[in-house]
């Protein structure tokens, strides 16, 4: 279970993670795109994190926190990831509307919603070398009835990492890098990487929160 303060803290932590990985994400984006992915992530999450302490200061609706953060991210960055993330957060937010704390099932629903939201705007299939190659594996595990609910996030994290690494061996079919064709082989997708980092931050925070509430 995650409480509203921890939920907010998660957004701030995501900002720190992106800040730490800014250069790395730019480096990944240079051979494949325009070399700005780390900058975009850092700008977007900085705005989100600042807004948590400003507009959202007194807010305790986790759904509202998520949807507002999505819009804040979008307004700060535009870019391709802006609309993708915004759609993810808005769709995820719908599933946790007016909740002040989130159960494991709420978190699962949030992420399934998030993935649906991104997917609707993305148009990318599995294997197209985008953030979807991290999100689809997460979706699969979160829906996997054969895995006990309480360990699905842990499994999903592992699957997300596999998905991220698999992008190295894919030819891009979406976004800026899609014009590279075979020249995109061998490089890990920056958007998949930042999505993995986000999910990983999320799982860490959720685990910490769960332990704190035991």
């Amino acid at each position: 279970m995650i409480q509203e303060t921890e939920w907010k803290r998660l957004f701030e932590r995501a900002h720190l993670t992106m800040e730490e990985n800014k250069d790395y994400l730019c480096e990944l984006d240079r051979p494949l795109g325009d070399g700005d992915h780390g900058v975009t992530m850092s700008m977007g999450w900085k705005a989100v994190s600042e807004n948590i302490r400003e507009e959202l200061e007194g807010e305790n609706d986790c759904g509202k926190i998520a949807s507002t953060s999505g819009r804040t991210f979008l307004s700060a960055v535009g870019s391709s990831v802006g609309p993708l993330y915004a759609s993810g957060f808005m769709e995820g937010a719908k599933r946790i509307k007016q909740k002040n704390d989130l159960s494991d099932e709420d978190l699962r629903q949030f992420w399934l919603g998030f993935i649906n939201g991104v997917q609707k705007r993305s148009g990318a299939d599995s294997g197209d070398k985008t953030m979807m190659d991290v999100l689809y594996p997460i979706q699969k595990v979160l829906n996997d009835e054969t895995i006990p609910v309480e360990s699905r996030f842990e499994h999903a994290l592992w699957a997300a990492e596999q998905g991220m690494e698999a992008t190295k061996h894919m030819i891009s079919h979406k976004g800026r890098s899609s014009r590279l064709g075979e020249r995109s082989l061998g490089f890990q997708d920056p958007g998949a990487t930042s999505m993995f980092l986000l999910f990983s931050t999320f799982v860490t925070q959720a685990t910490e929160s769960r332990n704190a509430h035991l």
Binding site: D23, C26, E27, R30, G33, D34, G35, D36, G38, V39, T40, M43, L74, S75, A76, V77, G78, S79, S80, V81, G82, P83, L84, R121, K174, G175, R176, S178, R179, L180, R183
Partner: protein, 334 residues
């Protein structure tokens, strides 16, 4: 690469601030959004409103082309990043007169998504009719069969000029859209890159080329082109690029074109005119007439080295639009 800036994170804000102050008789900012720019007298005349935009770093494109005879407003993104929907929406709201809003932008994933969202917001929340013209002039970015995937580069200048003049001349929304699409379908561009630019935040070159290399078909953000070659003569490069454009457009003897030789940032006017010299003689050889010529920095990639050639096929409807006057902070035609 060295840049004379203050803080990498505030370059766009400071640029806009300086720009608005330097040209306050032509352009204004909007309280509603710091990334919206509009014509000082926007909305004062009943006409189609033309809104342009895209990432910054391409100056004069896009914000430099707001003014009489060009765009009514622009949305300014972060460097090489599409603006979000809000500044597009606000520029449209502040300039429209109920005769429709035409959004013009280059065919990049980010722009398509953000401007697309802006169209939705305008129609749903604001009850403003908005349509889009997505510029796809870079023939190096995809084959003719996949023309829908092509990127937009310097040719957008011609498309914006056409839209701005058509709107100014009082054409209906349908006609402005039709004429703008006509320009869009009849412009083809291709570039060559010699040296990279760098983002203020990273300071890293956007791509790496050896001292004796060039990249044919390089994109406007350093996206790889169609081939990497040894740097040869200007004539050779010009011939290569121009032939591809002519074939792609299916240009025939006796047809008329306007020409734009666009510098990407650090390529000199001298080099651009040397290129023009060859373009002119090659077109003459093929019996193709030049209607009007533009040589200079019309759409840059910060300090990138390189240039592009764009041809616009002219007809009797487009000629008066290309000839029409314009008065913008970074472009004046009289």
């Amino acid at each position: 690469m060295k840049k004379l800036i203050n803080d990498p994170d505030s370059v766009v804000e400071e640029m806009i601030s300086g720009y608005l102050k330097a040209h306050s008789s032509i352009v204004n900012g909007l309280d509603a959004n710091p990334r919206s720019i509009i014509k000082t007298n926007a909305g004062s005349k009943d006409k189609v409103s033309v809104i342009i935009g895209g990432g910054s770093g391409h100056e004069p494109a896009f914000m430099g082309y707001v003014g009489a005879g060009m765009a009514d407003g622009a949305a300014v993104g972060n460097i090489f990043s599409s603006p979000p929907p809000d500044p597009v929406v606000e520029a449209a709201k502040a300039s429209h007169t109920g005769s429709g809003v035409l959004l013009i932008y280059g065919n990049y994933q980010g722009d398509v998504m953000n401007f697309g969202m802006a169209v939705d917001i305008l129609e749903m929340d604001e009850d403003i009719e908005a349509r889009e013209v997505v510029v796809k002039d870079d023939i190096a970015s995809a084959s003719k069969e996949e023309a829908e995937k092509r990127r937009g580069i310097a040719g957008e200048f011609f498309v914006t000029k056409t839209a701005g003049a058509a709107a100014e001349q009082g054409y209906s929304f349908d006609d402005v859209q039709r004429l703008t699409e006509k320009a869009n379908r009849n412009v083809a561009s291709m570039g060559v890159g010699l040296s990279p630019c760098s983002l203020p935040q990273t300071g890293k070159p956007s791509f790496v080329l050896a001292d004796d290399e060039m990249e044919i078909g390089l994109g406007h953000h350093g996206e790889p082109g169609v081939e990497r070659d040894k740097l040869t003569t200007s004539q050779h490069v010009t011939e290569r690029i121009l032939n591809d454009i002519i074939i792609d457009m299916g240009l025939k003897q006796k047809e008329e074109v306007s020409v734009l030789i666009n510098g990407l940032g650090s390529t000199t006017r001298m080099e651009l005119y040397i290129m023009y010299d060859k373009v002119e003689s090659l077109l003459k050889e093929k019996g193709i007439t030049i209607y009007k010529s533009y040589v200079g920095d019309y759409s840059t990639s910060m300090e990138m080295g390189g240039c592009s050639i764009s041809l616009l096929r002219m007809d009797d409807e487009l000629k008066p639009l290309i000839d029409a006057p314009a008065k913008c902070p970074m472009y004046t035609q009289s």
